[in-house]
Every structure is written in structure tokens, then in C-alpha cells.
Symmetry: C2
Subunit: 329 residues, 2 copies
């Protein structure tokens, strides 16, 4: 049994941590719920107990074995204190992901990297996790020469406020009222915003660089050729990705399909004749990464296309972090 | 002055024909509105006249110089009759696009192809038109080695019924009612459907093959390497496309930006510091193709990414057809 803390327990990812720990029967002795001052005092029911949310401070981690950080600025502020208190931090923020001293782990891809942690293990970006789970069996089968990915990302990536903003805008539209944007830089209802996170080098967004650099780190291939375009879409909580892959070795689509079908954490839904393919509305609340629309890319010799969907809050965040915690046990 | 017929005058594209003919002051003598039997007798106000919709028959085209076909099955049924009556048909359906006897024209790209028509000129698929307008200046500047495109297509691509279905689903959701799908194979509100048109060879959809084969025909490069993934998104009427291009010759992003800025029919909106980039909600009811998020693709030597948005009903259909009609004058 272990003592767990959840930092950011009242947000979208924090709430999902609670659900997943219960579902997976994670062996918890004490569960400490931490959040900002604003949420302190809230009471949350979990597994027959009523837990009170406490304000996160540098002293919040005494006796804690594993601290799950849901993300945001709490990580840079409190993760080191948690480590100093003897906890292992599993951090969902982007703060430590590219730190060479911190392993970046997707259990289906690089579980062995958990071993060399020095107190912090980083949980990758949601879009990255969903992509690498689908790329791993292909990498093992045929190698990866190049990836071109375009994303279709749900508003849940901006947390509970993002989900609420889409709902509010759609309701306002239905009632002929004005649509108000505060979470996203522009209206998201009935629109697409081709910018996620801040702009960085080369006019790429930080989200686009995360998909490139985190994937290279997870596969331990710093030169892996990847380019990404990330786009916010008016969908509540599953991310979708159109992925074009050029492999190192020539393999058939059916060999790739077979490898994906056998891969842990992957479900192939790909029956055009029945209109079966992955879709975000039907992939929410699931832990698996769904792959479909598998096709040869006739524009090159060793290429193919696939359409990948995964729940951003679950496999893209909370589930992956809890799986890392399970590896630690 | 010329006598015009619009076939499918009461649909989304047909209605747009009426707006655009008026806006562009197209020199019309008689305007004959044709539609299915169901719509016959409807009266439509246009330029101070009240026009009555007539049922389309094989005899509907006497005295007509140019017949604009909005699309659908009317084209296969009546286009030849219109030609036999002496009209030039500009056809928005997919029926004749790949016919070697029929030019497929985007005025910004291959206006000269209008000259060799034998009675029918085909208007390309909406996603194809939007893409080729953005590709043309790049093709002229640096050549095109390969294109990988993922689309984000509005419900207007399924006509007026598609627009109504998204609106009705969103209103039902707002009121806690059941969402009903009849136009699209699955729910489209808050969802993505990675299938447009029917499935064909290699598990590509017909829409995906259109983007490949029509682009090759328009550029007169049958071997142009293109692969496409087409996806329906819950947006009302502009299509968006994430386009990755590998050029034949090495050029800088700023050279490409300059070429796009000067190109007819293209507007570059690309200022990350001000959060300016093309978005479908703000590109509707416009004739131009908007290009932004221009970036070098660091995964190859001669590649870059761009994000392209265009109004599916206007430049993607009606505007392009009226531009072809203008070329005929």
C-alpha cells in the first residue's frame, strides 16, 4: 500500500485521477487531495470516504510515496518540495519533460525508463502520448523514417474551463446570444483554432514542438524526423490525429494492421464497409488508443496513413500517469 | 449579355450562384432557375425580379448560353441535354471531372483549359479547389515533389441538409434532447467523421481520391505525389486544410510567403504575435483562399507546412464556377 497525493485534484485531470485510481484498484493507503487555496475545504467523495481538499504548500508532501501532479504551474512550484519530502513525482505539466535528468514515460513504449528516475517522472503531452502508442508497434515492425501529423484536439486540453467554454458558446448560439471567448484565443464553437499553446521557434507552437521533441525523447531517437500541425476543434474530450508515416523498411498495410492489433493499449477499428473508424465522441472515457483508416500512401514507396483517436484526459493524461505509478510499485 | 440557367437553384450552392452573379455584376439577359419537381413553383427574388423555379427537364435549356449545374444527380441526367441545346455546361458535380474530354478548371491555376471544352467544363471538388489555389504559386516558384494533406471539412459540403443537421444536433444537445443523424453516417456535433463520400480503392474515400486525381489533372502532372485524409468537422461552411509540401527546388519560407502574397485569389494571414491565422468561422462568405501558419518543415530539406482555409460554398463551388463562366465571355 502507498500514500498518494494528487496535486490539482479539483481540475479535469485531477478528477480523472480519482476515477482511474478507483477503477484500477490502485493500492492506496492515504489519498491526499491538494489544490489551490481557492479549492481548499471542498469535500470530495471517493471509495466510500469523504476527502477534504487541502491547499498545496511546500509542506504538503510529508509521508507521501507518490505525488501525481495534474499539470500547470503547481509543478514548477511544488514538485521539488515533494521530491525533497521523499515522494516520487509523476508530473503531467510540461516543466520537466525535456529535462535530461527526468525520464519521459509512456508505459506501452518505454517502461524501462521509469528505472532511472531521480524523483520526478514526466508524463508526456496528451497528443504525444496518443501518437506514440500508435507509432510504437510500427517502429518495432518497420522502423520510422518520417512522421507528418495534423491534430484535431478537443477543448478538454484546456482543462475544465475549455470544456465549459465550448458548452457555453454552443448554448449561446442556440439561443441567438453573443458567443464569449476567454479560454481560447478565438471562438471555438463551429470554428477551428490552428494554435495550441504559445508560439515558439520557427513559428511552431509549443504544442507542435512537444509532439516532435517528446516523441524523439520517448523513442530515444533524437533525430527522428517529425513535423506537426496542431489544431483545436469543437470536440469535448478526445484528441484525433491524422498521421502519415514513412517507414525504414518496406512492409504491407496488413503487416502494420496485424502489429497494431496485437499492440498493448491499441484497438484497431477499421471496417470501411460498416462505417467503422475511430471517432472522438465514441472514444471518450476509454483508456485505449483507437486506430483506423489504415491505408497505403501511394505517394511514396514505404508510406501509409492512419487516423488515431484517444481520450485526452484519460490515456492522454491521467491514465498514463497512473500506469507510471503502477510501474513504480 | 447571355442567357443563364442554374440547375439546382434552391440548394446551398444554387443560392450562392444567385448571390455571386449579382455581386460580380455578371451580364445576364435571362436567368432561368431550375430544380427538382419538389421545388418547382417556388419564387425567388433576384436583382429586383421575382423568378419562378421550374422543374428541370431535357427541354429546359432552349436558348440558354451557359448552364451552371450546382451538383448532384441532375448533372448526369441533364448536362448532355443542355449541351445538345447549345449551352456550355459548367458542372459542379463529380460526374465529368476526370473525363479526358472535359477540362477541369480553377481560373487561378489553369484558365487556358477552358479553351478546349466540348460543351462541358467541370468545376473541381471543393477541397481540391481550395488546395490548388494555395499550391499554384508554390508550384510556379519551386515545383512540387509531394503533398500530404489532412482536411477539416465543413458540413456545408453535404449541402443545405448538412448545415441543418449540425444546427439541429447542437440545439438538441443544448436542450438535453437526443441527437439525430440522417445526413452524416454518424453524429457530427462535437465529433469528427473521418469519412467523406464513399469508400473506394485502397480504402481511400472518393473525396480523398478526388484531391489526388483532380489536382494531378488541374496541374497537368499525372504523377504528382499526393496523399490525402479527409475529415468532416462540426463547422458550418469553410473548409480547412493542413498541407505539408515538399518542393522540387530549395526555397525559403519567406520566398514562399512572398509568392503566396502576390498570388491571385490568395490572402496570407500569418502573424503569430497577434494570433492572426486563417479560421473557418471568419473566412465564410469570402471568395479568397486564406493561408497561414507557414513554417519550414524541419523533418526534410525542402519542406514546409501551411494551413489553408476557404469558403466551401463560394470559392469551393459557386464562385469558381462563375469565374469559369466569366472566362467564357
Amino acid at each position: 500500500m502507498s500514500n498518494l497525493a494528487i496535486v490539482g485534484a479539483t481540475g479535469a485531470v485531477g478528477q480523472e485521477f480519482l476515477k482511474i485510481l478507483a477503477e484500477r484498484k490502485f493500492p492506496v493507503d492515504e489519498l491526499r487531495l491538494l489544490a489551490s487555496k481557492r479549492s481548499a475545504g471542498k469535500r470530495i467523495a471517493w471509495q466510500g470516504q469523504e476527502l477534504e481538499v487541502q491547499e498545496t504548500t511546500h509542506d504538503s508532501f510529508k509521508g507521501i510515496d507518490i505525488a501525481l501532479f495534474a499539470g500547470g504551474s503547481a509543478s514548477t512550484e511544488y514538485a521539488r518540495s515533494a521530491v525533497d519530502s521523499g515522494a516520487v513525482v509523476i508530473d503531467n505539466s510540461s516543466a520537466f519533460r525535456l529535462d535530461p535528468e527526468v525520464p519521459l514515460v509512456v508505459p506501452e513504449v518505454n517502461p524501462e525508463d521509469v528505472k532511472w528516475h531521480k524523483g520526478i517522472i514526466a508524463n508526456p503531452n496528451c497528443s504525444t502520448i496518443i501518437m506514440v502508442v500508435a507509432l510504437k508497434p510500427i517502429y518495432d515492425l518497420a522502423g520510422i523514417r518520417r512522421v507528418v501529423v495534423s491534430t484535431y484536439q478537443a477543448v478538454s486540453g484546456a482543462g475544465r474551463e475549455g470544456i465549459e467554454e465550448l458548452g457555453a458558446q454552443v448554448k449561446a448560439w442556440s439561443q441567438g446570444e453573443e458567443l464569449i471567448s476567454s479560454v481560447f484565443p478565438h471562438q471555438i464553437a463551429f470554428n477551428l483554432v490552428p494554435r495550441i499553446d504559445v508560439f515558439q521557434e520557427g513559428d511552431y507552437t509549443k504544442e507542435e514542438w512537444k509532439m516532435v521533441k517528446e516523441t524523439q525523447k520517448i523513442f530515444h531517437v533524437p533525430s527522428m524526423a517529425i513535423t506537426a500541425t496542431t489544431v483545436r476543434v469543437p470536440v469535448f474530450r478526445s484528441h484525433s490525429e491524422s498521421i502519415n508515416v514513412e517507414t525504414e523498411r518496406l512492409v504491407s498495410v496488413s503487416e502494420i494492421r496485424e502489429a497494431l492489433s496485437k499492440a498493448p493499449g491499441v484497438v484497431v477499428i477499421d471496417d470501411p464497409s460498416k462505417d467503422h473508424y475511430p471517432m472522438p465522441w465514441f472514444s471518450s472515457d476509454k483508456d485505449e488508443v483507437y486506430v483506423g483508416r489504415l491505408r497505403k500512401d501511394y505517394s511514396i514507396d514505404q508510406g501509409f496513413n492512419m487516423w488515431v483517436v484517444g481520450d485526452q484526459i484519460r490515456k492522454g493524461a491521467a491514465t498514463n500517469a497512473v500506469q507510471i505509478a503502477e510501474l513504480l510499485l
